[in-house]
Each structure stands twice: as structure tokens, then as C-alpha cells.
Amino acid sequence: MPSDLETLIRVVLTEQAERAPHRATVLAGLRWARGRRPHRRLAVVAACVAVGLAAIGVPIGLHLTTQPLLAGSQVLHVQQPDIPLPYRVTYLPAGYVASMRVATATDLAQVWEPAGQGEVGGVPHQSDSFVQLDIFSAAAGDLAQTLSASDAPKADISGVQGYVTDDTSESDTGATLTGTTATWVPRRGVTLELTVRDIPDSYDVALRVARSVVTGGIDVIAQPVSFGDLPAGYSDELEIQGTSPSRWTVSRTATGANHDLAITAIWSTAEPGLDDRTTATVQGQQGWYGTPTASPATKGVVVALDGHWLTVTMPPSTDLATLTRTANGVSVFPNVGFPWLGR
């Protein structure tokens, strides 16, 4: 039994710690958040999925062998239509330019970062500062109900009640970053979320950008990479990021219903790193098979096509035949451009 102050404190704190919630609640929350909030680090999320698969050794190669991701030649070389962006911002802080667009089953996201960001010494770099607009569909869940039940501060956003929350985070260097997220429901079935991070007066900036959002416009998310038809239960996500119309990377990831498979096709202006490479024939061209430097927990094939680079990665247990067959089915459309990048 505790006999002095310090012992009593230790006992009480230990008792409190024992009341910790079960890990399943957090894991469920993480899965939900991953699905709902692709954010601009979507590629990292996809990579983590692949890494997780590798760690638990799921025999996905066999699955692919018996159920090819790509249905057949008739679906190849048919470009999927552009995805319209139904909302756009009409105000941004000075110096911010478009750096990313993301499309998932439930979310369309646009990101702006300070001009001049993107690469440092040839290494991809993301600024801590950004503005992001997410357009969530009803499939993302009843966010309006969640919001109305929250105690988040309210604000008028273009005539509807929105919710504005501040938060802090850390930069890679440990500096404290401040951010603000404004969320509102402009019409039934659509939730908009405007996030600013590491921008002075983030609350005011977030509100101003949010209030500048209008419907309409001609902005789209083009789809220059296609897997063709996906088997039932699969979903895919598309991410386009870059610093200019001549410096970009398109990443498309297909994932099974239970995250039991992740295949990523990357179409880029930059030559990717590939370790332990051996030659392989991909899409009728000489390419390479090996371990992608950017995602060492996967296996990948790389081939140069029309002056750009196509990389297809799969979990490390995937054999060369399966990987090349999958890569051969990926369609790319070199004439698709991204004039919005860097503007």
C-alpha cells in the first residue's frame, strides 16, 4: 500500500494507465481516417499499406495469379474520362501554387504550396506549409452529423454554418506548426474541408480561403494512368503531384477490399531508382526488375515509355512473371498534360 506521496502518485498514475482504451479502437479510427482523409501524403499511406503487407507475409502473389488485376486487352488504351472538380478556390495566400490533385472513391483533394517547393537537391520535398481543399462525397460518412454534434467553434462560410478548428503539429525539424481546418456542408451529400498549415494567421487565412470557394469552373483531374477494369472489391486512388507541367509524378494505387493487395503504377518525368536490378521485358520494351529505392518493401519493374518512366510495384513476394504481366496491362497516355501544376 502506498506509504508516501511519491509512491501514491506512482500508484494512481499506474491505475490511470491501466484504464487505457483497447488498441482496436485506435486501429479502427486510423483505418477510418486513412480512408476518409487521403491528404497530400496519400502516397505515403499507400506505401505503408504495402509495407504492412510485407510485414505480415500475406500470400497475395497467388491471389493475383488466379485473378489478374487487368481484365483483358479490350480495356487497354481506353483513357478514363477526366474527373471534374466541382469546387474551386478563388483566393490563395500570395505565392501559393498548385502542387497536387488527388482522387479517391470518396474524396477529391487539391493542394497548394509555396512556389519553389518540390525538390531540394534533387530529392522530392514537401513544404510544411500548404493549403488543401478536400471535397468529400456522402460515401465518406455523415460528416455533417458528426460536426453538428461536436463542440468545434462555428463560423459562417458563404451562408452556411461551418466549423473551424485549430491544431498544432510538428515539422520534421521539431518546430511547432499551427494549422486551421474549416469544414462545412455546402449542400446535402457534399462536405468541404479547407486546411491551412504553417501559415501565419492560419485561422483568418483558412476562413478567407474557405469563403472564396465557389462551384463550377473547368478544373479536372486527368487520368493518364489506368489499370483497366478492377475486380470486384477493389478500389483505386490517383495522385498527381509536381512543381510544373514538365516535372510531375502520377501515382495510381489499386487496393483490395481488406487491404490485402496493393499495386501501384507510377508514371513520372523523373527516372526512378531501382536497386538490385535485372533486365526484364515490360510492355514490349527492355526494362528492369528490382527493388524500388523509393519503396524498398516492394518489388517493381521500370520501363521507359515515350520519354517518361513507368514503374509498377507490388508486394515483395510477387514473382517476376506476375509483376510483368500486371505492368503490361497498365495503360499510360503520354499526351495528357498538367498545365495547372505550379500555377
Partner: protein
């Protein structure tokens, strides 16, 4: 792209880190917040952010220390000022966890009183107490974690202990009667 390992540190994947450390982080956050619900929110938010910058964290000498610091910062900067609710919830939950017959009423009451004092501490003082008596960190380690000087840590501990030693604090606060320092 993953950063190369530094000084022989073997990077750990985010998923492996979560598998190994999630329970530990949840216990730490619960001791810190005295609220399992808030602890869950804090840890979840931190892990989402940690995942985004994992390629940096994985190369740290101690990723767990880095993430624990993120948990602490999240708690200290927690904007949903639920202070009073924290206290009420903590006591309500504690009351639900009725002591077993083997635990004497006096000892249970003693711990309940202490919990009431801990949750009233200003957040930074409470953090210092948790880092000292739950995490067993030294003054220097606490100072590094909080980003302050060692004398500041000692000052926080001294004030916190003085408060915790006081005998005139009611065990269960009345609703609306608290002004939880943050």
C-alpha cells in the same frame, strides 16, 4: 523515398511500430490525460501525423521517444478544452471502477483524492509529474522532452508536489466549480 539509416539505426516500418508500441502509447496518454477517451483521440491524431512523416521519424535514434513527445505536445496543445469534463469523467469512471473487497476503503479514498489533485494540476505540471513518476525520467530527460531548462522542470515538480501534498482539496469537484489551468 526512405532516408538511409543513421549510425546503424535500423528503420522500422510504421505498421511495425504501431504493432509494437500502440499499447504503450495508449497507457502513457491515459496516464497523462486521466481520460481514456481523450487518450484515444490524442494517440490517434498523433499516429496519423506520425505516419505522414514516418520517413523522418524512422531514422531517429528512438522513434518511440519522438512519438511520445508528439503525444505530450498534442496533450499540451489540445484545443478541445475539455478540462472540466476531463475531471468529471475521470471521477465518474473512477467511481465505476469500484474497489475490490480486498482494497480497503481508506486506501481507495486516498487514491481518489490524489487523482482529484493530479487532474487539477496545470497541464505542464501534470505532464512533468507523469514524466517523472510514470515514465521515470530524469530532470534532464524531462527538460529535453518539454523543451525547457532543468530548473524549470524542478520548479514545476516542486509546485506540483506542493499542490498534491495539500490536504484541503475536495475529492470530487462540483460541476462548474473548477477552473482547470491549461
Amino acid at each position: 523515398m526512405r532516408h538511409p539509416s543513421r549510425l546503424g539505426v535500423v528503420p522500422i516500418t510504421f505498421d511495425d511500430f504501431v504493432a509494437e508500441r500502440l499499447d504503450q502509447l495508449l497507457r502513457y496518454a491515459t496516464a497523462l490525460t486521466c481520460d481514456p477517451h481523450l487518450a484515444k483521440d490524442v494517440v490517434q491524431e498523433v499516429l496519423l501525423r506520425a505516419q505522414q512523416r514516418w520517413r523522418h521519424i524512422e531514422t531517429a535514434d528512438q522513434p518511440i521517444a519522438y512519438v511520445r513527445r508528439m503525444v505530450l505536445n498534442e496533450y499540451l496543445s489540445w484545443r478541445r478544452r475539455r478540462a472540466n469534463r476531463d475531471v468529471m469523467m475521470a471521477h465518474a469512471k473512477l467511481a465505476e471502477l469500484s474497489p475490490s473487497v480486498a482494497d480497503s476503503t481508506s486506501h481507495y479514498g486516498e487514491r481518489q483524492e490524489m487523482l482529484g489533485r493530479i487532474v487539477r494540476l496545470p497541464r505542464r505540471q501534470r505532464a512533468v509529474i507523469v514524466l517523472r513518476y510514470y515514465e521515470n525520467l530524469s530532470d534532464a530527460e524531462i527538460a529535453a522532452t518539454l523543451g525547457c531548462a532543468e530548473p524549470t522542470v524542478r520548479s514545476h515538480i516542486s509546485r506540483a508536489l506542493a499542490t498534491l501534498r495539500a490536504q484541503d482539496v475536495p475529492a470530487v469537484p462540483s460541476k462548474g466549480g473548477l477552473h482547470h489551468a491549461v
